[in-house]
């Protein structure tokens, strides 16, 4: 019955934004949470597979992310972007996996200490984007998680600097400087002739 209800109302949900759907979930419409799962499942799986060096458990992690999102849905401010909120939950889950294995975050991240002015690259064409994606895929394992995550969020998840800042909880200027440094690091380690 639950699934039949979902199928019947599912088609009318397409016009609702993520934030509107989240608001309905907060108001008690539990079933509609499935629309958000539909919209974000593949995105979060892709994010996890690229971010983690051992992506075998990504399915379980993504399931946990959605469960955590549902449990904490009342903390979501519907005036903000749901996209950034759920990616933040996913980011925390993936970082916890890395911590258990290899990644030990520093107490003080020097990227966030100083003021960095936003460095935009408006001339980045679709061709450049495609080139960067290939470069990232090739050189992912050579990068630290700090640089890997900004590259994935920007080039694969198509997130703007502001949204990445909300996911990672860092200043927007820091996002821009990390992207710049990540691209430089990639270009140094990867021979473009191999692409």
């Amino acid at each position: 019955m639950f699934h039949l209800y979902y199928i019947l109302v599912g088609t009318t949900m397409e016009n609702l934004t993520d934030e509107e759907i989240a608001k309905r979930v907060q108001e008690g419409d539990r079933e509609i949470f499935g629309v958000l799962v539909d919209r974000y499942e593949q995105k979060l799986l892709r994010y996890g597979k690229k971010f983690l060096s051992r992506p075998e458990d990504v399915q379980d992690i993504v399931q946990d992310v959605f469960i955590r999102a549902y449990e904490n849905i009342q903390s979501f401010d519907t005036t903000q972007r749901f996209n950034s909120w759920i990616y933040r939950i996913a980011h925390n889950a993936y970082v916890n996996v890395l911590r258990r294995n290899v990644y030990a975050p520093t107490l003080l991240d020097f990227d966030t200490v100083l003021v960095h002015f936003k460095y935009d690259d408006p001339s980045e064409s679709e061709r450049d984007q495609k080139y960067m994606r290939e470069l990232i895929d090739q050189g992912m394992s050579t990068l630290s998680p700090k640089y890997r995550e900004v590259l994935i969020l920007h080039y694969f998840e198509d997130m703007a600097y502001k949204d990445i800042a909300d996911v990672l909880r860092i200043p927007t200027g820091t996002v821009s400087i990390r992207l710049k440094r990540a691209k430089e690091a990639l270009k140094k380690t990867i021979n473009p002739a191999h692409l």
Partner: protein
């Protein structure tokens, strides 16, 4: 016929758990309570930081150690020696914790660490200065500590605020007992505010600016210099209070 059961998808698993009640939404008041608790703790830490910085300023004032800064490089060295570094480190630790707490909020993580931390230091410093210089709080608590009227930790803190430099430490607060052309004698003020009956002769440095002009018997002075028995060769002297 294939009777093998298809594994549930992520969506099916989640919706089933929601439907069965295995997974439930945390109520809104839980998060409101969390925000209030965080704000309360942050305010508490800010107040403690302000108090610590305020007490540092009071300690410098009550011992007149700020005068040492006008005594040249040796005076600055003496000031750094007597500075309550332990309290400053404690204050900085509290501000670091506060900065970390504030990063949980949107306005906190959008600001670079240096600016946020710098702003907290500036805010605490300004409020601490106002608290020490513009209110009688510290002086009243100090007076009460001398009568043991404060609770134990506060009493020990304020009672220990005024302290004499170590013997032969070279920095002394005293009352002028006689004045000559290039020397004068003082009687040291002890921790209880009384005076030591033994006079010490202070020799001023041989430079044009070092003079006993304006010095009167009964003036309270701070002198810093090298001690030799009952004499002190001063590198700095400042009148703290004129005789009445």
């Amino acid at each position: 016929m294939n009777t093998e059961k298809k594994p549930f998808t992520i969506k099916e698993t989640i919706l089933n758990e929601i439907q069965s009640g295995k997974v439930a939404m945390r109520p809104k008041f839980f998060f409101s309570l969390k925000v209030i608790a965080t704000a309360f703790v942050a305010s508490g830490i800010l107040l403690v930081s302000i108090f610590i910085l305020n007490f540092i300023l009071f300690s410098i004032r009550v011992n007149s150690h700020d005068s040492l800064l006008g005594f040249g490089p040796r005076g600055v060295g003496a000031f750094l020696h007597f500075f309550p570094w332990g309290l400053l480190i404690a204050g900085i630790i509290f501000l670091v914790v506060l900065e970390r707490l504030l990063r949980q909020f949107r306005f906190g993580y959008k600001i670079p660490t240096l600016i946020l931390f710098g702003s907290l230091i500036l805010l605490s410093g300004v409020l601490a200065t106002l608290l020490d210089r513009e209110t009688p709080m510290n002086d009243r608590l100090f007076a009460q500590s001398r009568m043991h009227l404060l609770p134990p930790p506060m009493n020990a803190l304020y009672a220990g605020a005024r302290h004499l430099p170590p013997p032969q430490g070279g920095v002394h607060k005293g009352i002028v007992s006689s004045v000559a052309t290039s020397t004068f004698t003082i009687r040291f003020i002890d921790e209880d505010g009384g005076t030591n009956p033994n006079d010490i002769t202070v020799f001023l440095p041989s430079r044009a600016s070092a003079t006993t002009t304006g010095l009167q018997i009964g003036d309270t002075v701070l002198v810093a210099g090298d001690e030799e028995g009952a004499t002190l060769h001063a590198f700095g002297m400042r009148i703290l209070q004129k005789s009445k």
